[in-house]
């Protein structure tokens, strides 16, 4: 099982000093192809950290969110290239395999990406993009929106009980 050291996190902080766009990102691995199974495994592990299972609801991968993200990657070459760079970066920081990293180390690495990485550099931008897409897919599933407290889509039921909460007599009289 891989691990992530405090020294590595310090190096990650230094990453923020270098530009992402148009430049080579510190600690970024060479731009080699990433196997589809590596891509899928790393992405699944990452989104399951962003949206893990708990006592009330399923994890992202249990709802097929990783598969939807892979579909989105397959349909967009630019997106695919960027996300693959992000996934390679994750694996590199993890000593080879993010999915094999111990849970506390995964948490530490993602916390750094979320809170300290600059959003215009690879680690921060990758985190923000995957989070945005993952929550979009997750909370547009029935299990996802039910977990947030929504009971049904807006139609065909709506909320007709609100019609019974008519304005008070005082409110109507004041206005009429």
């Amino acid at each position: 099982m891989g691990s992530i050291s405090r020294r590595k996190l310090l190096l990650l902080t230094l990453c923020n000093l270098l530009p992402f766009s148009g430049g080579r990102v510190f600690a970024s691995p060479p731009n080699t192809a990433m196997g589809s199974s590596d891509t899928a495994t790393t992405l699944k592990a990452f989104v399951d950290m962003l949206l893990p299972a708990d006592e009330q609801s399923a994890s992202a991968s249990e709802l097929g969110i990783d598969a939807q993200l892979l579909q989105k990657m397959a349909a967009d070459k630019t997106l695919k290239a960027f996300w693959q760079r992000g996934l390679r970066w994750l694996n590199k920081q993890s000593g080879g395999s993010f999915s094999a990293l111990a849970e506390p180390d995964k948490i530490e690495l993602i916390r750094w990406m979320a809170e300290q990485a600059k959003p215009n550099l690879l680690p921060g931008a990758f985190f923000q993009q995957i989070r945005y897409e993952a929550v979009t897919f997750y909370y547009s599933t029935e299990e996802g929106w039910k977990d947030s407290g929504l009971q049904h889509p807006p139609q065909p039921i709506g909320y007709p009980e609100l019609a019974k909460k008519s304005l008070t007599t005082t409110e109507v009289l004041l206005n009429d």
Binding site: L51, P52, A114, T136, Y139, G144, P156, N175
Partner: protein
């Protein structure tokens, strides 16, 4: 049906109303629409699992093309007017104001932008129609409120408007209204805040049925008017005016037809409308009456693209006013987290409104008023996806816990204000960008002068003040016109007036020169009003125009 009494260009609020009124007079009408038809039951999938990720549907040709001229530089002194959200930070990272998405949010189709509108059915404030003579800004309307009043009443009856009789600045004769809708939890809280400040929070006038009416169902408060109404209770033009016009058998609608130009003769008449259908075939159609109702961007574009030897500056542009006086939607929204779980995703969008600052002299230091209304649905905070994207930060177990705890706790107050015309805001032709038939696109020039920014500043501060008085926890998102051009209501580019030297059409929407050409959309508005939504006024003006046409039909 080939022998038409009238050709109408555009099937939105103005064109749809004209189609109704003219067919009621027994006239045979051809309605040319650039966009498609939408089917409420098929096209608005609010019953599906992923409903929230589907905004109002786009179909081929349902969006117009236009371009933007560069916009003004942002200034540090207005940094408190930046658009931002808790999750995403500032929305505009560059140095200049920029369009928000497509910038001009509209729909081309049978029903036009009423298909996706919220459905506020506002009468114009009678005090906002003489901005030039009273305050030296903008222009006076050539008609006053009492002239328009009976046409407002007629439009309200046709649509089915729910609301209250006594709205400041808008006296009415008789009652054409359905009972007002109940306040949602959002509006009850905003009412509490407004009342604490001594302001009045009233039921809004809404083109949404509070009870079954005219064969249509009543609203069931799903809060998603802006995604299209599958029940048909929202008073969009397709289920009201156009439905009734089609029932006469006198209306023919041709969709996905792109009007290229209007042709004219030596006798100051429009002789033909040239258009291309969806199979790319060219057509030439004529009628005694031509009504142009394509909106405040496409109407001036078509007139400018119809320049000829007889009208080298563009048709109906002898005054040089076509495209000038562009007025946009000056708006602000502040969203905040509240303490109690109030299910703010339920209800009717914009169900409550405050008109206290709607009079044109009611905001200190500026001319032109504004209104405040509940706008949780208009900023699309009605589902968990938008919460997770924009409002609730974080990841992991904490994100899930926060989503459970906070979903349904965000309320939004919005403000829309007067947009005064200025010399830097106008529509012209973009000679470098053309549509597939080679016609130049309309180009939007938008500039917010000092008075607009001061009005916007007042709107933003008052939104925060009302929320604070309502007892919110924290502000989580703000969104406004300072750094983002985001317009649904646009006006003024073919101004109406009595003087041919300073206006495009007269008080009946008739071109000063081309006597069988009428314009029936918000391009004719001399001023924008203090935040009123324009559809009901467009419809009332169109009814008045058609009433005048009926009286004077022997002249056509």
């Amino acid at each position: 049906m080939t022998d038409y009494d009238a050709v109408i260009i555009g099937a939105g609020a103005g064109g749809g109303t004209c189609a109704y009124a003219l067919t009621q007079q027994g006239l045979k009408v051809l309605l040319l629409e650039a966009g498609p038809r939408f089917s409420p039951s098929r096209d608005y999938p609010l019953n599906q699992e992923d409903w929230e990720t589907q905004s109002f549907p786009e179909k081929p040709l349902s969006q117009g093309q236009y371009s933007f001229a560069p916009m003004q530089k942002l200034e540090p002194r207005w940094k408190h007017l930046h658009s931002w959200s808790k999750n995403r930070g500032n929305y505009v990272l560059g140095e200049h104001r920029t369009p928000s998405g497509k910038g001009y949010h509209h729909v081309r189709g049978v029903g036009g932008s009423t298909l996706r509108f919220t459905g506020e059915a506002h009468r114009f404030n009678q005090h906002s129609m003489q901005m030039a003579s009273r305050f030296g800004v903008s222009a006076d309307w050539p008609i006053d409120y009492p002239i328009l009043e009976p046409f407002y009443t007629k439009a309200e009856k046709l649509i089915g408007v729910a609301g209250i009789k006594k709205v400041p600045g808008r006296p009415r004769n008789g009652n054409s209204l359905l009972p007002p809708h109940p306040f949602s939890a959002t509006s009850r809280l905003l009412k509490k805040g407004a009342n604490k400040l001594g302001l009045h929070w009233l039921p809004n006038s809404r083109a949404a049925l509070s009870q079954p009416y005219d064969g249509r169902l009543s609203c069931n408060y799903c809060n998603n008017c802006n995604r299209g109404c599958p029940r048909g209770d929202k008073g969009s033009v397709d289920v009201t005016f156009i439905r009734k016009a089609e029932q006469t058998g006198l209306l023919e609608i041709r969709t996905e037809c792109q009007v290229q130009r209007l042709e004219s003769d030596q006798n100051n008449r429009i002789t033909a409308v040239l258009y291309i259908d969806k199979q790319n075939n060219e057509h030439n159609v004529s009628a005694p009456l031509i009504i142009l109702a394509a909106g405040a961007i496409e109407t001036p574009r078509l007139l400018l693209n119809s320049a000829s030897r007889a009208s080298p500056q563009g048709l109906a542009n002898d005054s040089g006013m076509v495209g000038k006086n562009f007025m946009e939607t000056l708006s602000w929204n502040t969203s905040a987290l509240v303490t109690d779980k109030i299910d703010s995703f339920k209800g009717l969008p914009s169900d409550g409104i405050c008109w206290d600052y709607n009079n044109p002299d009611s905001i200190p230091g500026v001319f032109g008023g504004c209104r405040f209304s509940s706008s949780t649905a208009e900023v699309d905070l009605v589902g968990p996806v938008s919460y997770a994207q924009r409002i609730i930060p974080g990841w992991g177990q904490q994100l899930k816990r926060d989503m459970r705890e906070k979903f349904g706790k965000v309320i939004t107050i919005g403000a829309i204000g007067e947009s005064l015309p200025n010399q830097h805001s106008f529509i012209d032709l973009d000679l470098e960008k053309k549509d597939q038939w080679g016609n130049p696109l309309a180009r939007i020039h938008s500039f917010l002068p000092e008075m607009e920014l001061n009005r916007l500043d007042f709107m933003a501060l008052k939104c925060r003040e009302i929320l604070d008085a309502a007892g919110i926890q924290e502000i989580v998102e703000e969104y406004g016109s300072y750094d983002l051009f985001s317009s649904t209501h646009i006006f003024g580019t073919c101004r109406m007036g009595d003087a041919p030297e300073t206006s495009v059409v007269n008080a009946y929407g008739q071109s000063h020169r081309w006597k069988n050409l009428f314009i029936c959309d918000a391009s004719t508005f001399p001023s924008s009003g203090g935040g009123e939504s324009p559809s009901l006024t467009i419809e009332a003006l169109a009814l008045r125009t058609c009433h005048w046409i009926n009286i004077n039909k022997s002249k056509f």
